[in-house]
Amino acid sequence: MRPIGRDDGHEAWPAGPGDVRARLEEGGYLVDDGLAVACFLALRLRRPIFCEGDAGVGKTALAAALATALDAPLIRLQCYEGIDASQALYDWDFPRQLLHLRAAEVAGATDADRLEGELYGRRFLIARPLLQALETASCVLLVDEIDRADDEFEAFLLELLSEYTVTVPELGTLRAQSPPVVVLTSNRTREVHDALKRRCLYHWFDHPGFARELAIVRRRVPGASARLTEQVTALAQALRAQDLVKPPGVAETVDWAEAMAALGATEVDAELAVATLGSVLKYREDLERARALDLTALLSVRGA
């Protein structure tokens, strides 16, 4: 079957969802069916992936994993309220421009047109993440927490993500030689505009089940003993079922296992679990609640 996606000559890129999954797993990032298909389509159809889900489920890590799997550089844009084109796309290097101007004056330059041409040349242009991503051949662009930026910025992104071109008035239109792989993440603090979502593949990240989370922790904390990772994962899953302000994400489970392994433990006991609770639970109410629970009892439920 003829591929629909533009032909970019990336023979090295994955041939199917299974291939994507294998490559991501090689790099230590475990994916389920849906995410494998999403990544494959993103590569093949050149569509951004729009990732939503609770904090700590691996949305941001996906971009890093894709970069590793494709052996491509990762360029990250952290969004915030009030972010605009000069912070996300490009800016002029004003101090250097002024310096250049003074130097030209001292040298007795008289040709104003030529001087202006020099001042607005590529060497005084500072590429911010989005322009960098367009200029870097086959990279992964992470637009993190798009829900924090405001509507205007979303609209601006819309154009960039569908055309992969940028117009700098003084220089003309810059086009990406090969469009970047784009990962957008959102924490759902507000509804992102439909127009932007329509251009993306939408993927919802759920908390992983026991087996997958265990596999992830094993990958991420290879130094920990098998029994420790199993128990930590079981505990984290049990905590997630409790009524907490912020249920732990996979990232926290990994932190917890790392913390215990760093203390030299090969097995979880209640004392150790309580001592390291701060790496999983980040609210005082949650800590109090967890301390009140019988953590060893939670462990035995899983039979670990």
Binding site: P17, E52, G82, W92, R190, E191, D194, Y202, H203, K246
Partner: protein, 377 residues
């Protein structure tokens, strides 16, 4: 995965599928279908899981869509989703419209242009300003609706990261250099720029439980007007026996249509109130992720709590730590001899920055002033 999947041999099947999705409330437009066809072009269209996932990735746009998608996929292609468990769809229950919530008979006034002379309108508006919503006649109610329609509810201004040209402020190198260039390299006084301000986000939590029945209609109209006024979108939730986000329903320009949409979306008119639990639901799902952070949060409720007041107190403390300001508007506060004795109200008060009335037009004007940053009531 089973290979007995859908025979997605023609786009017609997919178009039909998308139509079924649209009927179920998923916004699966033609461009999304196009994306799906494109996706299946590089996958295996005969394989059930590929069809399931590519459809889910291209046709859905939010978490709420996923449940509907699973349901329609199962119905259309038979069996359950690709490996995923098809969760039971929530029962869609249409209840009586908002107007029935109040004690007054239905007025049907918002559709017709009224011929009341302006002067009469002005003087009676003054009288109406201080009347309790619960005691209005049908005609007064209709007039109130018109008066409520002009409300705006901008939040207290805050400084943003964005810079705009200004007379005072830090030097603006971009405009300065351009100016210098325009004068052939001759130095000019620096141009300046300063930070802009924006109103804070306002989040309204409107109690629509039984004890608030006399006020819910007016307060939702107030919320509708507020949601249309400012530069920053006002978020509106209803609380009763469950929490419902109605911001989207309120985007209808016409208040009548917007309120009908809200009525259809909210399943729990006149139920009891479990403020604490619902507040926790709001904070878990929206507030903590950032919606309440730095915002002005307004709770419009009489504070009747059927649940555990301790839970409400704890959640209010949480809300208070997140929000810039927490305002509680209570329609019953204006009643003679009112004291916040209801267990819920008493539990919530320590975490409230401003406790105002909410029973009349004048009270809502006062509320708007407090939200804008006026001193506490």
């Amino acid at each position: 995965m089973a290979h007995t999947g859908p025979e997605a041999d023609g786009p017609a099947v997919l178009v039909g599928f998308a139509r079924a999705l649209r009927a179920a409330g998923v916004d699966a437009g033609p461009d999304r279908v196009q994306a799906l066809i494109g996706a299946l072009g590089v996958l295996r269209p005969g394989v059930r899981s590929d069809v399931y996932w590519s459809g889910r990735l291209t046709l859905c746009g939010s978490r709420d869509d996923l449940e509907r998608y699973d349901r329609v996929f199962a119905a259309y292609f038979g069996g359950a989703g690709a490996g995923g468990v098809v969760r039971g769809a929530p029962a869609v229950r249409l209840r009586a419209t908002v107007r029935d919530a109040g004690p007054a008979p239905r007025t049907g006034a918002e559709g017709r242009q009224d011929a009341v002379p302006a002067a009469v309108l002005a003087s009676s508006a003054e009288v109406l300003r201080h009347r309790d919503f619960a005691e209005l006649t049908a005609a007064e109610r209709a007039q109130l609706h018109r008066l409520l329609a002009v409300f705006a509810l901008p939040g207290e201004p805050r400084r943003t990261a964005r810079l705009r040209p200004a007379r005072r402020g830090a030097a603006d190198p971009r405009r300065t250099v351009r100016e210098v260039l325009r004068h052939g390299g001759e130095l000019t006084p620096p141009r300046r720029r300063a930070r802009t301000t924006r109103p804070r986000r306002v989040v309204l939590l409107v109690d629509v439980s039984g004890s608030m029945a006399a006020y819910a209609d007016a307060l939702l109209r107030f919320a509708h007007a507020a949601a249309h006024g400012g530069r920053v979108r006002t978020e509106v939730f209803t609380i009763g026996t469950r929490l419902t986000r109605v911001t989207r329903e309120l985007t209808h320009r016409d208040p009548g249509a917007a309120l009908a949409a809200v009525a259809a979306a909210v399943p729990d008119w006149r139920g009891g109130t479990r403020l604490g639990e619902l507040l926790r639901a709001f904070l878990d799902r929206w507030g903590q992720r950032g919606m309440a952070r730095g915002a002005v949060v307004v709770v419009l409720s009489d504070g009747w709590e059927r649940g555990d007041p301790a839970l409400l107190a704890a959640q209010m403390r949480r809300l208070h730590r997140l929000a810039h300001r927490v305002v509680w508007a209570n329609p019953r506060k204006a009643r003679p001899g009112y004291a916040p004795l209801a267990a819920g109200m008493a539990a919530a008060l320590p975490s409230v920055d401003a406790f105002v009335e909410g029973h009349s037009l004048a009270a809502l004007e006062r509320l708007a002033a407090v939200v804008r940053g006026a001193d506490d009531a």
